[in-house]
């Protein structure tokens, strides 16, 4: 006869309600962890997309994401000629706002050369950009669908392919267009400004400008050696992929990450206190029954088991319910929620530990109960 189980059945409605409350709380904790992981993953996504080893950017800049960087497009040829480099591509990044179906879309426009590194890592629907003019691969997060037409700058682009999970560190969905189109979008001035430039005699300057040149190396090539070569040219900085990821996760999203990290910690702490309170209260309500059990001769083991089993049941059901809930809704969040198995398992272990620790409080109270209190005055 399992006392924990029988007690739960007797107050089933209340127990399940408590589990549900706990599930909601743990669901929120998990959502926060997911959002935290999501921010980190999103921040790295764009830098990982081209799968390159080296970023060549403007001298003394930590670009192209954390700081602005502009370099001449022809640097690409120089980089491509360095020993150990298998492929190099010029790339541009810019955020634009476009009107689409009477709403504003913030897009992160990536300009790349279709035959060189820098394109979308995978296309889930449609095809890649093949023509240099006004074709676009967009991320699903933008809400754009195949065949959509959207105006960027003075040109209209057609959506020919879709990617998944490609957003920048601010959560803006990426769109890929050819480098040429992107350069026109980024560096071409409107007619009035252009006339001013022509009057000054500086027209055409910066026409072939990119934000970075990315390079893929041979598997056995030393990334540091190539970086060193680039640095000797004086006008450029070379950032390895590892350094780039470090810059992104440290400086770019650092505050957001710490903010959410701290909040998650507080939430975890609050959950622990609430679980402890629930279990302690559950035990305190049963003190008279526990005194009776002791009086009629139940060993401590029976009483401890009852409390611990109930605590574990509460924690387990709350945790499973909370996980199911968050898995069901996580894709409806405006930004990515990344739930990794090890994070979920980690939270599960924490909940389990909290349950056992807080049933310790209840057990302590229960073991102290004087069986004489069952008899009463």
């Amino acid at each position: 006869m399992n006392l924990a189980y029988r007690d739960i059945c007797h107050n089933l409605g209340r127990f399940l309600l408590t589990c549900l409350g706990l599930a909601l709380l743990l669901g929120v904790v998990m959502a926060m962890i997911g959002i935290y992981r999501g921010i980190v993953v999103d921040a790295l996504t764009i830098s990982r997309a081209p799968a390159v080893d080296l970023w060549v950017v403007e001298a003394n800049s930590r670009g192209p994401f954390a700081e602005a960087s502009r370099i001449p497009g022809d640097v690409r040829e120089a980089v491509a000629r360095i020993a150990g480099v298998t492929a190099a591509g010029g790339i541009t990044y810019q955020t634009v706002e476009a009107d689409h179906q009477s709403r504003k879309l913030r897009l992160y426009v990536i300009g790349y050369e279709p035959t060189r590194p820098g394109g979308p890592p995978e296309i889930v629907e449609g095809r890649a950009v093949v023509r240099s003019h006004f074709e676009m691969v967009a991320d699903q997060a933008s809400g754009l669908v195949l065949g959509d037409r959207i105006e960027l700058g003075r040109n209209t682009f057609a959506v020919v392919g879709l990617t998944r999970h490609q957003v920048n560190s601010g959560g803006d969905p990426a769109v890929y267009i050819t480098l040429g189109d992107a350069q026109k979008l980024q560096f071409d001035l409107g007619p009035p400004a252009a006339r001013v430039q022509i009057a000054r005699g500086t027209a055409g300057a910066g026409r072939d400008t990119v934000n970075a040149v990315i390079a893929r190396l041979q598997p056995n090539a030393s990334v540091d050696a190539v970086a060193e070569t680039v640095r000797r040219w004086k006008h450029f900085s070379a950032i390895t992929q590892a350094e780039q990821e470090d810059i992104l996760s440290r400086s770019l999203v650092d505050r957001a990450r710490r903010q959410i990290g701290l909040f998650t910690t507080i939430l975890l702490f609050v959950s622990a206190v609430i679980i402890a309170l629930i279990i302690y209260t559950m035990t305190m309500e049963k003190l008279k029954q526990i005194a009776t059990l002791k009086l009629i001769g139940a060993p401590d083991r029976t009483i401890v088991l009852m409390i611990v089993q109930q605590a574990l049941a509460l924690g387990l059901i709350g945790f499973v319910l909370g996980t199911a809930m968050i898995l069901a809704i996580k894709d409806h969040f405006p930004r990515r929620v990344v739930l990794e198995a090890d994070n979920v398992a980690g939270l599960g272990l924490i909940v389990l530990a909290v349950c056992i620790a807080s049933s310790g409080l209840g057990v302590r109270a229960a073991l102290r109960v004087d069986p004489a209190t069952a008899i009463g005055g």
Binding site: H10, N11, L293, K294, L295, I296, I375
Partner: protein
Amino acid sequence: MPLNGDPLVRLDHISKHFGTGTTRVDALRDVSLTVYPRQVVALLGPSGSGKTTLLNVIGCILAASSGSMALDGERVIEDGRWLRSDLRRLRLDKIGFIFQFHNLIPFLDATDNVALVLRLAGKDAETARARAAELLDYLEVGNRRSAMPAKLSGGEAQRVAIARALANRPRIILADEPTAALDSKRAGIVMDLLRKVAIDQEAAIIAVTHDEKIFDRFDHIFALRDGRLEADGASPA
């Protein structure tokens, strides 16, 4: 009533005090009493006279400050010290408790409330439930065997509680105001049942009571005043 057999409960010069110095309360002073099998005895006295304390000492819930006690032939307290460490096991085997309020476990039905103490004593589930059913029939609440305690009337609940007290066939049954929560008719029924148990199981029954309407149901009345036993072995009028 013939006093056959060895005494089931024997207290020699038991004293019990709480606190020390100015806060010292002498709850029991030099109490000696003997109860034999088949006896149904009452503990009587004003509030605070030490009745519950005496019951707790006999029930091995409370340590005595001095004196000796033997239960069912086994010496349990010697000079105010326990001779056994597993008091809960001792209670499980030798003593049945009946409370003023039935104190049934609210989440177990009538049968399982009784079966629980049998399970605690090591009986398998089948045997425990069978014996529980038999006991409930014996106490004439067999028809309520699947009812939860909250659904039982006061008299029914008290009978289930008595069934629980009897489950492991203890020979010492302690009751603290077992009929206080019942009307006189049901109080009479409960007392008759206890009497039946005392005879059938060769048990000693010690009940604390204030209840004048059941005084005539006892073989002996021990009156307590300020922790002292006043009328050792007096028979009811």
